[in-house]
């Protein structure tokens, strides 16, 4: 199941029921349990929802919603009343939220079939999926490789064809980077265009709920459903939902190519695929504009100071009082909290809480956090200047294709540098998407791995960004490539 538009049409045409779709999805989740893309999924509520949708269609009750009958996998940090919500962490084992996030409510309103939940790096902290407290997600293209992160399970579930759509959250690239590494489309809207009510907070000035799909057209469909003002989120913009806009061709599109993103750190095979895609863009009428984003070399440091500072504050709520597991410790209040957090959080989450506490602490605040906020503005202003001469910034999404499981896990700095090309747009709050642009052979020649092409637009330019990327996909077939079937299946 790869095409959300087509799936909805086939249900409305009576070719299959929503219950058929629900059963097929659950079977496919079981079949691909090897990927660890999903955390335990409860089948009965999904089947029940499917039956309700079939009945409403039979009754002709109302105009079927834009996502009628379409399964949408949910990252394990989006609240859906009554469904276990762990954020990939042991500290929230067994937690069932008493309310539903705005984005999941909007999916329900559009007739979708939400599937809870997908695996993720604990509290969205990671770039490989390996920081999940439960199991690492595997890359459907090559199971010895990571799918990227932190929305590892959502990316893998769309890439493997288990679901046509999934939601993740993108704080510093947590949707775009795994989309690139898994060969699917990932779209981060402008900060503030999608409500975060019911998204478990990590970095509040950066977090954005963002979809995965197999095409820009499908990503736009779900973005249209989930975006728009929300009285429950004061950081959500008053703008109308993201509207589908068509663009006949790419003639005259000015594509800004930032010199800094094509520097020495870029893998040669990734460079070659991205340059070929840029060539294809130009053949379709786009015009190259050399640009410079001079402060992007400081983006990783700026991002990790800002994001860890915000995380240290946001994660204070996990203290064994209101939800999740509790450890009694020495029996005092502080002892209970300290023991609960020591037992419940994994290594990377602890590292980031401590780092964030450090950069906010007296004596270090101005040197680190205050400074990072200033450099953030310089990074933001670089883009503002760049968009005076171009319509869209084009660069790789990740400097390398997927890396091997375990390769960067022991080295936090190497893992943080995986995000070097996605964090600048996050800091600037800009809309950005990653689409496939071909595959490359792994170093050892044992696998073909996807490469992602990143498109970054000016603030609130979501519609024109999607329109241009749609025009590109309607003239190319990179996005139609799918991972090889599982070995056992292929041999069967």
């Amino acid at each position: 199941m790869r095409d959300a538009h087509g799936l909805r049409q086939s249900i409305l045409a009576g070719e299959r029921t929503v219950l058929d779709v629900a059963r097929a999805t659950l079977a496919s989740i079981d079949e691909r349990a090897d990927l660890n893309a999903f955390l335990p999924v409860e089948a009965e509520p999904i089947l029940e929802r499917a039956r309700e949708l079939d009945e409403s269609l039979a009754r002709g009750a109302a105009e079927p919603g834009a996502l009628f009958g379409v399964p949408v996998a949910l990252k394990a940090n989006l609240a859906y009343e009554g469904r276990e919500l762990t954020c990939g962490s042991r500290i929230l084992s067994g937690y069932r939220p008493p309310y539903t996030s705005t984005v999941v409510q909007r999916l329900l309103d559009a007739g979708a079939l939400p599937i809870a939940t997908t695996n993720m790096d604990e509290f969205a902290m990671g770039s490989s999926g390996e920081n999940s407290a439960f199991a690492p997600t595997l890359n459907p293209w090559a199971r010895d490789y990571t799918p990227g992160g932190s929305s590892s399970g959502s990316a893998a579930s769309v890439s493997a064809g288990i679901v046509p759509l999934a939601l993740g959250s993108d704080t510093g690239g947590s949707v775009r980077q795994p989309a690139a590494l898994c060969g699917v489309t990932g779209f981060k809207p402008t900060f503030g265009r999608v409500s975060r009510y019911g998204l478990v907070a990590f970095g509040s000035s950066l977090d954005q709920v963002s979809p995965f799909a197999n095409s820009v057209r499908d990503a736009e469909l779900i973005a249209n459903c989930i975006s728009g003002a929300d009285p429950m989120d004061s950081t959500c913009l008053e703008h109308a939902p993201i509207q589908p806009v068509e663009r006949a061709n790419l003639k005259g599109l000015r594509i800004g190519l930032p010199a800094e993103a094509f520097g020495d750190g870029l893998d040669a095979s990734v460079r070659q695929k991205v340059e070929a895609a840029i060539e294809a863009l130009c053949e379709l009428g786009a015009e190259r504009v050399p640009i410079s984003l001079p402060h992007s070399e400081h983006a990783v440091a700026t991002y990790y100071v800002v994001a860890t500072a915000e995380a240290s504050s946001n994660l204070a709520r996990f203290d064994g009082v209101r939800f999740g597991a509790r450890q009694e410790g020495d029996g005092s209040l502080a002892g209970m909290m300290g023991a609960t957090r020591a037992d419940g959080f994994g290594d990377e989450v602890k590292r980031r809480i401590l780092l964030g506490t450090h950069v906010l602490s007296s004596g270090y605040y101005e040197a680190w956090y205050g400074r990072a906020q200033r450099v953030r503005r310089l990074i933001h202003d670089d883009y503002r200047r760049a968009f005076e001469s171009c319509d869209v910034v084009i660069c790789p999404t990740s400097p390398t294709p997927a890396f091997r499981l375990g390769e960067r896990k022991a080295d936090p700095v190497a893992m943080y540098l995986s995000d070097v090309l996605t964090v600048p747009a996050s800091l600037a709050g800009l809309p950005a998407l990653s689409i496939p642009c071909g595959t490359v052979s792994s170093d050892s020649g044992d696998a073909n791995l996807p490469v992602g092409l990143q498109w970054i637009g000016p603030a609130l330019g979501d519609e024109s960004l999607l329109a241009a990327a749609k025009a590109f996909q309607s003239n190319t077939d990179f996005h139609l490539a799918t991972p090889p079937l599982r070995r056992e299946q292929a041999g069967a």
Binding site: F191, G192, V321, R322, G329, L333, A367, V375, G429
Partner: protein, 99 residues
């Protein structure tokens, strides 16, 4: 040899209410070394006169009518808590003396 970041890690662990075992402290102090060293360029940049950017948006105040509306029931909010007493979240005793 004790790492120069060891006291910082211990102080932050106390501030963050995070119990850290002694052997973890040393490892985390080494991580601090490597991470902060990799971020050093940030501290060398000239940022004089640059206004801090506190968020990705220039938000404006929005005012709505202050009208009562339904909220979650107490039982549903308390249901996920590890310990509840008489309709309240229960925590270990924090002050000495007779109750």
């Amino acid at each position: 040899m004790t790492n120069e970041n060891t006291p910082a890690v211990q102080k932050c662990a106390a501030l963050a209410r995070l119990q850290v075992e002694p052997e973890q402290v040393e490892r985390l102090a080494e991580d601090f070394d490597r991470i902060l060293d990799a971020f050093r360029g940030l501290t060398e940049l000239d940022v004089s006169g640059v206004k801090p950017m506190t968020g990705a948006l220039d938000l404006q105040d929005i005012v709505r009518a202050d009208e009562p509306r339904p909220s979650l029931e107490r039982e549903r909010l308390l249901a996920p808590a590890p310990k509840v007493e008489d309709g309240f979240f229960a925590v270990p005793k924090t002050v000495d003396g007779d109750a």
